[in-house]
Subunit: 190 residues, 2 copies
Amino acid sequence: MDLLKQRIIEEGRTIGEEIIKVDSFLNHQIDVGLFVEMGKEFRRLFDSKKITKLLTIEASGIAIASIAALEFGVPVVFAKKAQSRNLDKEIYTSKVYSFTKQITYDVMVSKKYLSSDDHVLILDDFLANGKAALGLIDIARQAGATVEGVGIVIEKGFQSGGKLLREQGIKVESLAIIDRIKDGKVTFLN
Amino acid sequence: MDLLKQRIIEEGRTIGEEIIKVDSFLNHQIDVGLFVEMGKEFRRLFDSKKITKLLTIEASGIAIASIAALEFGVPVVFAKKAQSRNLDKEIYTSKVYSFTKQITYDVMVSKKYLSSDDHVLILDDFLANGKAALGLIDIARQAGATVEGVGIVIEKGFQSGGKLLREQGIKVESLAIIDRIKDGKVTFLN
């Protein structure tokens, strides 16, 4: 998605060869006009799929899924994060390891809001090692729901998450795939 | 806002006399169609104000502010929460005590995204004791921004937050104000 890649080039701040900060428009300040265009693009990319629910994870995923839901016309469910603790039986849960924060947290969705009738599209801001997406897929499958795909704003193509998901036969569509970050310069795969 | 109050009555689950759970449409599953109507109502309620930025706090506020931003045509900034730790100088921060979780956390906004030119509308899902709203007001004022008002989806009229903010001369508009919760029944003030 050219509009997005242009914003990443213009506003992204790189740290080393693995990190790019895009908090001016994606995950701290939100450019809602851009998000509307991203929602339309996700709709186009998953147009062949019957989607009944958008599943994402707090916090940054919420805005992406909420605006995309205007195009899909279905509810959003956002998984909640908590550091591991006792959980009641009314909740689907999966453990996710965060490399950035170096902690394992529980991802939780109430059983009320996902069922075997659901066809789920998972949306998130970043795909790096894929741990968060795998946690959401695990939760959707615990509910007996069908995972129709994963839509990502920025995929780090040099990390393993995208490969891992695609090898499982999951349809992954990323609006921008970063090939590499070198000397402060970002190049894309798509 | 009748549409909202109807949903609270139909779907809210009360716990004792102080808690109402509305996670079927507001803060776990999100009914985006309702959010669009709420966004229009916030726009109407603050129509006399010149707003340059919507300020909210993760996680539940993000969807509310993002959809409302479609009406206001301005960026959203969402404050991040973290348990107290060392913070760098590029961040406005305020301490917020959560009665629910019984912890104090830091609310943080990068200095890049709020300035003295900004006219800020603060949006959030709940107003109870007002601590989160006061934290966001504190941050906006550290930036030298003008706080044009606070828009709330559900105000607990039986708690002190609304009074506290209005006594400071802040324009607070709540789409539903709960008068009391008794024997599982919710009554409204507005």
